[in-house]
């Protein structure tokens, strides 16, 4: 997909003026966040589970090669196939080949962020294979030719009216001519259209929240049931996942499942959690005849051994964005690539390049709510700071910014000079403010004064007053 992260500031400006975006994204605050807090309060073990999940993920990361190979062995043993793909291009080609071998004309798809990363839909369409998204949110944005604005609620930015128009435009060819305005009716309409698609599809593509080494299973988690229809009705099931999704055992997956839905949507469990292992067995009367697992790397293993390795713990639950005031203010598309919010700010510089994504780790107040809710305790602000350090070293930040900080640091390193500068600064600002006690305009500080007044200093600096007072005390 087209990466637009470098335009973050302009996109943020537009999003802040857009009433629809503002309304849509403020809803995560009252929806997901409140539900999460309720579920967390009902489970006394929640914080211990987070610790345990963090430690478990760290263990997996340290043994990643071992568990991936073990997983592969089990998939093969169960009659499935594994495709290792170092890059997006390799993954797209591998998937295309499987589809071609299956003579596929249409493929149905469950929600999968990794296939968003590699822009699989465009690629399949360009190769005369029609991809059909089946998750309602994904389906909506596929019709709108957009990409997700939230990793678990892809069409969060769409209003009901927009969905009405999209369905009306695209469903008339199925003889559905009435404009539906009620959410239930809209869901029913999508349901009826997509049912035919599930049955007609030659290949079903899903993601995988986990790959279980013990059994060679892939796991998907949905609320709609679309993923299950996608993977059980066509003759071929392709599960696309990324290297860090492997977990050792069913018990380990259980630990992550206890955290995943609670953190994401504030449910104890999503409605459907499905463990898929190999193709249908000899006597089975349904299920896919072929099972492929596509394991993608594409930059992830480059995080190993770096100060950003903890990102590989991510469960892709979306809790960080649900609790992020910046995400709520600017919406998902402003981030300019697949992952928005704090996880995007920490991960995207790795995936699309720091120069392209340099705004993302900077556009945060470091309030720390993301880390506070992350089920696997990824230190997101710390990783964003590491990107700032890298940008500083590579001089990627704009010059005025670097100079400003440099000038300030120059004084801060020299207490005597600093005293002098603050003394002059405080008195000057106080004088400029006059009796009002505040400044509404100040050259070189328009970033501040464009939004708020600057409270003026009281007068002499504390250090000056204190020194005087001490002297007086001695006399």
């Amino acid at each position: 997909m087209q990466v637009t992260s470098r335009h973050f500031k302009k996109e943020a400006h537009d999003a802040l003026q857009d009433a629809k975006v503002q309304e849509a994204f403020s809803k995560v605050k009252t929806g997901f966040s409140v539900a999460r807090a309720e579920r967390v309060s009902e489970l006394p073990e929640f914080e211990d589970l987070r610790d345990s999940a963090r430690d478990l993920k760290n263990h997996i990361i340290e043994h990643l090669d071992f568990y991936l190979e073990y997983f592969e062995d089990q998939v093969l043993l169960q009659g499935g196939q594994v495709h290792w793909c170092s890059t997006y291009a390799e993954a797209r080609e591998a998937i295309l080949k499987i589809c071609r071998d299956a003579d596929a004309k249409t493929v149905t798809k469950g929600k999968s962020m990794i296939t968003e990363e590699m822009a699989l839909n465009d690629f399949l369409a360009a190769n005369d294979i029609e991809p059909i998204e089946t998750d309602l949110g994904e389906y909506i944005i596929q019709l709108a030719e957009e990409y997700p604005s939230h990793i678990i609620a892809p069409a969060l930015h769409k209003t009901k009216d927009q969905v009405t128009e999209l369905f009306h435009e695209h469903h008339q060819k199925y003889g559905l001519n009435e404009r539906q305005t009620d959410p239930q009716a809209l869901v029913n309409e999508a349901r009826s259209v997509l049912r035919e698609k599930y049955v007609a599809a030659d290949v079903g593509i899903t993601g995988a929240n986990f790959m279980i080494a013990e059994t060679g299973s892939t796991v998907i988690v949905t609320n709609e049931g679309n993923g299950d229809l996608t993977q059980s009705l066509p003759k071929t099931h392709i599960a696309v996942s990324s290297v860090e999704k492997v977990v050792p055992t069913l018990e380990d997956a259980s630990t992550f499942l206890r955290l995943l839905a609670r953190s994401a949507t504030g449910q104890e469990m999503s409605v459907y959690t499905t463990f898929s292992t190999g193709p249908r067995r000899r006597d089975d009367i349904d299920g896919p005849a072929a099972f492929h697992v596509v394991i993608v790397d594409s930059g992830r293993t480059e995080l190993l051994g770096t100060d950003k390795q903890d990102l590989l713990r991510c469960l892709k639950c979306g809790a960080c964005m649900n609790h992020c005031p910046v995400y709520q203010a600017v919406g998902g598309h402003t981030y300019g690539w697949v992952y928005p919010g704090p996880i995007g700010a920490a991960l995207n510089p790795q995936m699309v390049g720091l120069e392209e994504a340099r705004h993302l780790p900077n556009a945060t107040s470091f309030c720390g709510r993301c880390e506070e809710v992350c089920p696997v305790r990824i230190p997101l602000p710390k990783i964003m700071r590491h990107w700032r350090e890298e940008a500083f070293e590579k001089q990627i930040a704009p010059k005025p910014e670097r100079w400003g900080v440099g000038l300030w640091a120059f004084f801060a390193k020299r207490p005597a000079l600093y005293r002098l500068a603050t003394r002059v600064g405080a008195m000057t600002l106080k004088a400029l403010a006059g009796k009002k006690g505040r400044l509404s305009k100040l050259p070189l500080a328009t970033g501040w004064t464009s939004v708020r007044d600057l409270p003026a200093p009281q007068g002499s600096t504390f250090m000056d007053q204190w020194k005087k007072q001490q002297k007086r005390g001695q006399n």
Partner: protein, 226 residues
């Protein structure tokens, strides 16, 4: 170099090591084979009867419905009553695994066995287990338990024996291992926690997105001992 080796080499190189030492690999293998439990919520630490109650309470909170019958002989009648009271068709598609059910007391039901078809409105299936922890059913696919029945029809009725109700997810895994052998899985294991839903349009909760709109669980109470 094939991508498989590229990826594995990159992992090892960036972790600053070669392949795992024999010792470390043996420990990791033992970890998998031991499949020991991590933290299990204390709420699962209750009596068998309390587990059934908790399962029911959780399932109902999720929007499923639950009734209890005293024996397998009463299941068919309960199914018939459920369908008629909801004005639902009496034609049902049933898992072959339930072929021993007697439908004598439910003359209105038209029962066929097999995998789900797009035209089926109602399915009737067994479960492998259920978890009180979260009100979750555990279904395993097999020759006589096609998994499409769990998803395609709009109405899904599940026959669950009270002694199938366990505490947490780990207890369900023990049942799966008992049935299929350690390290083995059927093609599909489904955890199902309530009827299908979506909140993808303006975060409004709507039931029946793609999977069943209604999920009804018939719990068959334990037969009295002796």
């Amino acid at each position: 170099m094939p991508s498989r080796e590229k990826i594995l080499n990159r992992i090892r190189h960036n972790l600053g090591r070669g392949p795992l030492s024999d010792e470390a690999a043996a420990a990791a293998r033992a970890r998998i084979e031991g499949h020991s439990r991590n933290i299990v919520p204390d709420r699962t630490n209750i009596s068998a009867a309390e587990k059934v109650d908790l399962f029911q309470q959780k399932m109902e909170a999720l929007g499923g419905t639950v009734t209890r019958v005293s024996s397998m002989d009463n299941v068919a009648e309960e199914v018939q009553d459920y369908l008629s009271s909801h004005n639902l068709p009496s034609k049902i598609k049933m898992s072959p695994a339930l072929s021993d059910l007697s439908f004598e007391k439910a003359p209105l039901l038209e029962v066929t066995e097999g995998a789900a078809d797009i035209k089926d409105d109602v399915s009737l299936t067994p479960a492998l287990a259920a978890m009180a922890e979260s009100g979750t059913l555990c279904m395993a696919s097999g020759a006589d338990t096609p998994s499409t029945l769990n998803f395609l029809p709009e109405n899904h009725i599940v026959v669950l024996k009270a002694n199938q109700v366990t505490g947490g997810f780990e207890d369900a895994w023990d049942r799966v291992r008992d049935k299929f052998g350690t390290g083995n899985m059927p093609r599909t294991v489904n955890f199902i926690s309530g009827p299908s839903r979506t909140a993808d349009i303006e975060q409004t909760l709507i039931m029946g997105a793609h999977g069943p709109r209604r999920l009804h669980v018939v719990i068959v109470e334990d037969e009295p001992q002796g």
